[in-house]
Subunit: 158 residues, 2 copies
């Protein structure tokens, strides 16, 4: 069954699906609260993209375009994509869904920055990402991994 | 055996101890590389604090004082402590080492901000922390938890 990446809308169904993911946290709770209190409309656009397998959301990630004036990672400074909460439900791993989401992100042809979770380095390196040079005052507890389209370099802060 | 929180120095022994912690990542690798290439001195101060039980480092955290000009969390704006990589080795949990580290951080009497890991919310709430109001462009994939000494409030960004 071919699958596609789609932008997820904020509604009670999506938020119920989100509960299956391990990285369910304050972001999701805040979206739920906003929806319950009519602070956002039903079916508002979300920063999440996902893959449905049949009726079930089996993989998701968040993507946000950061303005070049906040770019501390790339040379020349430019808009880049912040990618977070990439996660594939346990029963659907090793089927290429993670790669499909990352390829979707790459298709924007902008540099990408993510925070690699514990034990995920091999995955990110397989997707062509590399560890960014760690800088405490920028990265704190993160493991910043970056991907760059042609013509872009990591910013040299040394 | 009474234990105390001490500031950890960067040397090969400390960096070897760090390998036992799950959140070993680019930060630690970068410290190791800097030491190997004499870019930092042996026994330089690190942002890590830890607890030794006998000869073994069994708990650690990082603390960094963020200048008030970068304070997007508290009211009035002020210097605050960023806390990350709080971790107690598995065999030493439920003995109060985590609380001992957090109490050390609190003793500075500055607000504290951390990023709560999956399934750690109960711990942080027990330490008097509360979830910060989630703001995507500030927090991305984080679960920001904050603690405030008397007289400090969460910044209202609404």
């Amino acid at each position: 069954m071919p699958t596609k990446v789609e932008r997820l809308l904020i509604n009670f169904k999506t938020l119920e699906e989100f509960k299956k993911f391990k990285a369910y946290g304050i972001q999701e709770l805040s979206m739920l609260e906003d929806l319950e209190h009519n602070m956002i409309e039903n079916n508002s656009e979300s920063p999440f993209y996902g893959i449905y397998f049949g009726d079930e959301l089996v993989a998701r990630m968040s993507l946000y375009r950061v303005d070049k004036k906040y770019d501390y990672y790339f040379e020349p400074p430019q808009d880049y994509l912040q990618l977070w909460k990439l996660e594939v439900l346990e029963n659907y791993r090793d089927k290429g869904f993670g790669k499909q989401l990352v390829d979707f992100a790459k298709s924007h042809n902008l540099p990408i920055k993510t925070n690699a979770r514990i034990n995920s380095h091999e995955f990110w390196e397989k997707q062509g990402f590399q560890p960014a040079t760690y800088e405490m005052e920028r990265d704190f507890g993160e493991n910043p991994y970056i991907w760059m389209p042609e013509g872009v370099k990591e910013k040299d802060n040394s």
